[in-house]
């Protein structure tokens, strides 16, 4: 396991931002996950919560119990500590996506823009294994890395007022799944019938950072069946262990 030179920054009254070299890298992702495991195991009671995306980790602490300098020292000691932390194995999630143009309303635009047929775009998008680099932006929104260069497309100049829940979209060098309907400027290529965020579950988003995502092409009829199965809580997202 490589150790990086981390930067610790005070972030307001009760949070600390830990920064790795600012780039998207699987090595950094693993290093952050190992550090987060160490933090969880250490049971530092002053730490209230945390989140990370790409190459920075935010730790929120109780400033009535501990000072910034103290928490910074504890975190830094913990990071340097001999590493015996084993990460739990990651999962590869097969997310069903219907790429029919009824859902993939921007496929035609992308086809013209990128000079590929619609079938080629779908194939490029669905044959890639994406890495989850964090969760944020919206409840259950996964920051995915790995979109092929051929599909990188600047965002729409005018965002849509409503992108539907489940939309699969491309924005810049990223692709993502909209967990709720929301305004958005990404190009929509398809829709998944499954929900990646359920607030009645204790772990509302089943996917964790470090997991992998692959989109599985389904037709409209399969889309409807999965949607009904999911709504009646008899559908489990297909996943497998991934090294």
């Amino acid at each position: 396991m490589s150790n990086f030179k981390l930067t610790y920054k005070q972030f307001g009254e009760s949070a600390i931002l830990v920064e790795w070299p600012q780039r998207i890298s699987k090595t950094i992702l693993t290093d952050i996950r190992v550090f987060v495991e160490k933090i969880k195991k250490s049971n530092i009671k002053e730490i209230l919560e945390y989140n990370f995306v790409y190459s920075s980790l935010l730790v929120v602490y109780n400033n009535k119990l501990v000072s910034y300098d103290h928490i910074k020292q504890r975190l830094s000691n913990l990071y340097e500590m001999e590493n015996q932390t084993k990460l739990s194995q990651s999962s590869l999630w097969h997310i069903p996506v219907c790429y029919d143009q009824e859902f993939g309303v921007d496929l035609e635009f992308l086809s013209k823009e990128k000079k590929y047929t619609i079938e080629e775009i779908i194939s490029l998008h669905s044959n890639t294994v994406y890495t989850v680099y964090g969760i944020g932006f919206l409840p259950g929104f996964l920051y995915l890395g790995g979109l092929l260069n051929q599909l990188h497309t600047p965002r729409r100049s005018i965002p849509r007022l409503e992108v539907p829940k489940g939309a699969i979209a491309i924005g810049g060098s990223q692709t993502g799944i909209y967990p709720q309907s929301t305004p958005g400027g990404w190009h929509i290529v398809g829709r998944t019938p499954i929900s990646l965020f359920n607030p009645i579950n204790i772990h509302p988003c089943p996917v964790s950072p470090g997991d992998k995502i692959k989109f599985k092409i389904v037709n409209k009829a399969e889309f409807e069946v999965i949607k009904i199965a999911q709504e009646s809580e008899v559908y489990n997202i297909n996943k497998e262990l991934y090294d």
Partner: protein, 282 residues
């Protein structure tokens, strides 16, 4: 029970927030002005995290069907109990059939209505704070019914001791820390931002407040990273966005400043065209 006869402009139920789920992208939510809300709960001998009503700009009309003690703090919205004007920061006994209504906004933007024992609405992911797609509703509607604890006892008013404390938001000075991306800007750019006088734009809500003035345009980009309530983002077009309680948990604009919790409470009482300035603290 409280029956909502009129909802007001934007009335929600809030507690201190939804903690422990930011790693799944869930905003913290919770009261925008935690100082006023905490006063309300404290003066009713409630728990600090008891849920209360956050009332924005134009108040609701509410019918009580059981007796309890209530208190209003924060913005002054000319509240009336039946036909009688009542005052903020004082405990009132309400009886079955009493109607609480609000009138003209005189000061601030957000009022807090607390009832003894707290409002007992649904708890989702450890919090009663309303948030779209997490709680079953995102704001109160006409005919909603809210329950509260039936066990009440008469409470003495402590009004004299706290009289000066509702003045805290009568300042336009927001105390801020340097944000994690402060140093990527030149000294000139930093000085312009810190010394600027600002005005709240029409785009202000529980997610964030935008500022009207544009002082520093830039082409600096950062890799998307975590943000907090109170984070001040500077977009390339030069727009300052102050993230608040319902804001996303991560963002891609440089985080130039960070408000203190007290400054978040002050800002929560500001409305369109109110002026602001920043004061750096270390």
């Amino acid at each position: 029970m409280i029956k909502v006869l009129k909802s007001g402009l934007y009335t929600t139920i809030q507690d201190l927030g939804r903690f422990g789920y930011r790693n799944q992208g869930v905003p913290v939510s919770g009261v925008m002005d935690s100082i006023s809300a905490s006063f309300a709960n404290a003066l009713l001998d409630n728990n600090e995290n008891d849920a209360l009503m956050e009332i924005t700009l134009k108040g609701p009309q509410l019918l009580f069907t059981e007796a309890t003690n209530i208190i209003i703090t924060g913005a002054e919205m000319s509240p009336k109990l039946n036909d009688d004007p009542i005052f903020n920061y004082r405990v009132y006994l309400v009886k079955n059939g009493d109607i609480l209504s609000f009138g003209e906004l005189k000061k601030g933007l957000r009022s807090y209505l607390a009832v003894q024992g707290g409002i007992l609405s649904e708890t989702v992911l450890g919090s009663k704070s309303f948030y779209k797609d997490i709680t079953s509703q995102s704001s109160l509607k006409k005919n909603d019914e809210l329950s509260f604890s039936m066990e009440f006892q008469r409470i003495e008013n402590h009004v004299s001791s706290i009289k000066s404390d509702d003045q805290f938001y009568e300042t336009n000075c927001l105390e801020v820390y340097k944000g994690p991306d402060f140093e990527i800007f030149s000294h000139d750019e930093q000085n312009k931002i810190i010394s600027g006088s600002y005005t709240v734009s029409k785009d202000n809500n529980r997610m964030g407040y935008q500022i009207q003035e544009i002082f520093v345009k830039h082409s600096k980009s950062i890799l998307t990273g975590p943000v907090l309530p109170g984070t001040v983002q500077l977009t390339p077009a030069g727009i300052l966005i102050i993230l608040l309680k319902d804001a996303q948990t991560s963002g891609g604009y440089p985080r130039i400043l960070q408000l203190t919790e007290k400054s978040i409470s002050i800002l929560a009482q500001k409305k369109i065209n109110d002026t602001l300035e920043f004061k750096i603290i270390d």
